[in-house]
C-alpha cells in the first residue's frame, strides 16, 4: 500500500499533478494503456484483450485545500477554500503553500488580546491568513502568487490498534486500493480511473464514464464516519473498523438495489465484514457516473474516515484491507459471469 506517499502528496482539486505522477509511475508496469483526458483524470486500462463486461473502478485524486487569492501589505496570504472546508477547523493549523511548498501557519488573535465573548464566535474566512514568515508583500511575492494552492502538512503515521492518521484519506485510500487491485490480473477488461475535481462538484468522473462507457462501475471512497463519543447510532454514518461501507443512498445517488445485493452476497460468501452507510449527506463520483448517457449500473465501496476534510483524518487499516478484498472478490465473481444486469 502506498498510503504514506499518496496522502503526503499535494493535490487539491484542479492541481492533482503530484498525485497523478505518483500513480502513473506505479500503474504503468501493469497497464495495457495509460493516458490522461482533457480535465486531467488518469485512465489506466487493463485486460483490454478480454471480452466484456467492462468494469470501471474510480477513485478521486483530489483533496480539499486552500487557494491564495491575495497578499496583504504586511505579507500575509489571503485565501479561500477549494472544496468543502469547515472554516472553524483552520485556526492554528499549518500548511504547505506555493511552488516551493513553503511552510505556512494559519494564525489568529491571541486569547489575551481578545475582548470578552470573542471566542464564542467562530472566526470567518476573511479573518484568517496564512503566514509564511514574509517581512512584506514584495518579499511574499517572490514565492507566492495568486492562484497558488495550500494543503495541510499532516504526516502519515500508524497509531493505536490498527489505525492510521493522515490528511486526504478522502480519497487517497481509494487510490491506494485501486492501485493495489490493478496489480492483479482479471480475465475481464477493467479500467481504473483516478479522477480529478471530485471535491468541487464531481467534475472529473462524468467525462471519464462517457469515454470509458463501462457496463458496471465501482467507486472507491473515503466516507464520513462519526462513531465518536456523544453521537447516537443514527448520527454515525459509519463505524470505524466495521468493514467497508456500502452506499445505499446519498445526496447524488440512490444505489441500484441489484448492485447492493450483489456486493452484500459476495461479502457474505467470502466472510468479509461490511456495513451499510447510514446517512444521506455526502456524495461521491457515482453521482456523476450513474447518470452518464443512458445510465450506468454503479456502486460505492468506502473506507470509513473519521474527521474527513480535516487536517488529521483517521482510518482503520482493517477496513482498507477488507475493502480491497471485497472489490477483488466482486471482480472475480464478474469474471465468472455472475454480475447484475437488467
Amino acid at each position: 500500500m502506498l498510503l504514506k506517499e499518496l496522502t503526503e502528496s499535494s493535490g487539491p482539486s484542479g492541481f492533482e499533478t503530484e498525485v497523478r505522477d505518483l500513480i502513473r509511475k506505479e500503474a504503468q508496469p501493469y497497464a495495457d494503456r495509460v493516458y490522461t483526458d482533457a480535465l486531467g483524470s488518469l485512465i489506466v486500462e487493463t485486460g483490454v484483450q478480454h471480452p466484456g463486461p467492462k468494469v470501471l473502478i474510480a477513485a478521486h485524486m483530489d483533496e480539499v485545500g486552500l487557494m491564495i487569492v491575495g497578499i496583504t501589505p504586511e505579507g500575509l496570504l489571503r485565501f479561500r477554500a477549494i472544496g468543502g472546508v469547515d472554516t472553524r477547523i483552520l485556526v492554528a493549523k499549518s500548511v504547505r503553500v506555493g511552488r516551493d511548498r513553503l511552510f505556512g501557519v494559519i494564525g489568529s488573535k491571541a486569547v489575551h488580546l481578545q475582548e470578552s465573548g470573542e471566542r464564542d464566535i467562530p472566526l470567518k474566512l476573511e479573518q484568517l491568513f496564512i503566514d509564511i514568515g514574509a517581512r512584506s508583500q514584495e518579499q511574499a511575492r517572490k514565492y507566492i502568487q495568486e492562484g497558488d494552492f495550500a494543503v495541510f502538512t499532516t504526516v502519515y503515521e500508524e497509531m493505536g490498534d490498527g489505525r492510521a492518521k493522515a490528511k486526504s484519506f478522502d480519497d487517497r485510500v481509494g487510490c491506494a486500493i485501486a492501485l493495489d487491485t490493478l496489480k492483479q490480473k482479471f480475465s475481464i477488461p477493467v479500467t481504473y480511473a483516478f479522477t480529478v475535481q471530485e471535491e468541487i462538484g464531481l467534475r472529473g468522473a462524468g467525462p471519464v464514464a462517457y469515454r470509458v462507457k463501462p457496463d458496471l462501475a465501482f467507486v472507491l471512497e473515503g466516507t464520513v464516519c462519526s462513531d465518536v463519543v456523544g453521537t447516537p447510532s443514527h448520527g454515525e454514518g459509519t463505524r470505524l473498523g466495521a468493514g467497508p461501507a456500502l452506499s445505499v443512498v446519498d445526496r447524488k445517488t440512490i444505489v441500484d438495489r441489484r448492485m447492493l445485493d450483489f456486493l452484500m452476497a459476495i461479502a457474505h460468501d467470502n466472510n468479509i465484514p461490511y456495513q451499510l452507510r447510514r446517512v444521506l449527506g455526502g456524495a461521491n463520483d457515482a453521482g456523476a457516473i450513474h447518470l452518464t448517457e443512458m445510465g450506468i449500473l454503479s456502486a460505492a465501496i468506502s473506507v470509513p474516515t473519521r474527521y474527513i476534510h480535516a487536517p488529521s483524518q483517521e482510518i482503520s487499516l482493517d477496513d482498507v484491507a477488507h475493502s480491497q478484498q471485497l472489490l477483488v472478490a466482486a471482480l472475480r465473481r464478474i469474471e465468472q459471469g455472475g454480475y447484475p444486469s437488467i
Partner: protein
C-alpha cells in the same frame, strides 16, 4: 471595419429575456454577416456563427457569449390592470423600483415599476426594502384593455438607453452580456485580417442567466476541441475586497482555477504579453458561474477558458464598463485563435 461601440449600444437596447432571445439573435446575425461563412439557429435558439479556418488539420474552437439578459415575467394581472411579476435571473429588487420597462405582450407596451411617494410612506416603511413579490408594473391603461394585450407569462425587460460617460466608458442595461457578444464580433472581424487555422464557432448562447443552459447544449452539438466563454465580471466597488473585483479599463480578465484548463490560461496570458496588452488575472477556487462551467465536463471533457470584461453595478439598468476592455477582449481572442494548431490541441489532454 466593424463599428464595435455602435453595435454594443444597439445590442444593449434589444430586448432578450432568458428563453426569448430571438431578437438578439437576429441583431447578432445582422452584425456578424460580413465576417462569417455560415449562420444557424439551433433547436433551442442558440445562434451559431461559423468562420472556417484554413488548412487540413483545423482545430474546432467554440466561443460562448450569452444573448439573454435578466428579465421579468407577468405572474398575475391585478384589479385595475397592475401587473405582478416573477423574475428569470437574479435582480436586486431595490434596483427595480421606479425603473422604466417594456412589456412584451401582443404589442410592446411601455411600463413603470411603481412606487409609493415619500409623502405617503412612513419613516418605518422607508427602513425596509420592497421585495420582488410586492413590486407592480403600471402600463397606464384600464384592466379590460390590459387583459386584451397582456397575458400571464409575457416577458418584461428593462428599458434604458445606453449613456456615454467620460472617455470610453458606457452605462446601460444588458451590457451583461452584450459586451461579450460585441467582443466576439470584434474577434470575428479581427480574424479577417489574420491567418487562423481553426474553425471558429462563435455562439450567442441562450438562458445563461437561469443556469448556463444554451452553452451546455450547443457545446454538446458542436463537440469543439476547446472552448472560450466570454462574460462580464465585477468591477471594483467601494467596500469590496480587491480579490473579488477587477479594474474597469484595466484590460480583459483571464480566469485561473480548477474549472479552467491550465494550458489555455497560460496561452491567453502569453498572447496578451506578446501583444503588449494589459490583462488582469482572476483566481477562482471553484465554479465561475459562467458558460465555462457546464462546457468543461461535457461528453469526454472539453478544455475551457474564460475571458471576462469588468463591469460595475451588475444586473441593474446602469451596468457600467470601459469600451477599451471590450475591444481588447476581442483582439485577445482573435490573436489567441490565430495561435492555435492541431498539435497544441492534442497536447491539451497531456497532463
Amino acid at each position: 471595419m466593424f463599428e464595435g461601440k455602435e453595435w454594443l449600444m444597439r445590442l444593449s437596447a434589444v430586448p432578450g429575456g432568458s428563453g426569448d432571445e430571438s431578437r438578439v439573435a437576429a441583431a447578432l446575425m445582422e452584425a456578424a454577416g460580413p465576417y462569417v461563412d455560415e449562420m444557424t439557429l439551433d433547436a433551442i435558439g442558440n445562434a451559431i456563427l461559423t468562420r472556417r479556418g484554413s488548412g487540413s488539420r483545423r482545430p474546432r474552437v467554440m466561443l460562448a457569449a450569452h444573448m439573454d439578459e435578466i428579465s421579468l415575467l407577468v405572474r398575475a394581472i391585478e384589479p385595475r390592470g397592475f401587473l405582478r411579476v416573477s423574475q428569470a435571473g437574479g435582480f436586486d429588487p431595490r434596483a427595480l423600483l421606479g425603473q422604466e420597462v417594456l412589456v412584451h405582450g401582443r404589442e410592446t407596451l411601455r411600463g413603470i415599476i411603481g412606487s409609493k411617494p415619500p409623502h405617503l410612506s412612513s419613516a418605518e416603511d422607508r427602513k425596509k426594502s420592497i421585495p420582488l413579490d410586492d413590486l407592480f408594473i403600471d402600463i397606464g391603461m384600464p384592466e379590460e384593455q390590459v387583459r386584451k394585450l397582456v397575458a400571464v407569462g409575457d416577458r418584461i425587460t428593462i428599458d434604458k438607453p445606453v449613456m456615454a460617460l467620460l472617455e470610453e466608458r458606457l452605462a446601460g442595461k444588458a451590457m451583461d452580456d452584450r459586451a461579450s457578444l460585441t467582443a466576439m464580433l470584434i474577434c470575428l472581424d479581427e480574424l479577417t485580417r489574420l491567418r487562423a487555422k481553426a474553425d471558429v464557432f462563435a455562439v450567442g448562447t441562450v438562458q445563461e442567466e437561469i443556469g448556463c443552459k444554451g452553452a451546455q447544449t450547443a457545446a454538446f452539438g458542436l463537440m469543439p476541441d476547446l472552448a472560450v466563454a466570454i462574460d462580464v465580471c465585477h468591477g471594483e466597488t467601494p467596500g469590496i475586497s480587491d480579490d473579488r473585483v477587477q479594474k474597469i479599463g484595466g484590460g480583459p480578465v483571464i480566469t485561473f482555477g480548477p474549472f479552467i484548463h491550465p494550458q489555455l490560461f497560460a496561452r491567453l496570458r502569453d498572447i496578451a504579453k506578446d501583444n503588449r496588452m494589459d490583462v488582469q488575472i482572476e483566481v477562482a477556487p471553484g465554479h465561475t458561474s459562467t458558460d465555462a462551467d457546464p462546457i468543461g465536463t461535457l461528453q469526454a471533457g472539453i478544455p475551457t477558458a474564460l475571458i471576462s470584461i469588468p463591469l460595475r453595478y451588475m444586473h441593474t439598468a446602469v451596468e457600467t464598463l470601459d469600451y477599451a476592455d471590450v475591444r481588447n477582449a476581442g483582439i485577445l481572442l482573435a490573436q489567441f485563435i490565430a495561435s492555435l494548431d492541431a498539435e497544441f490541441v492534442e497536447g491539451l489532454s497531456c497532463f
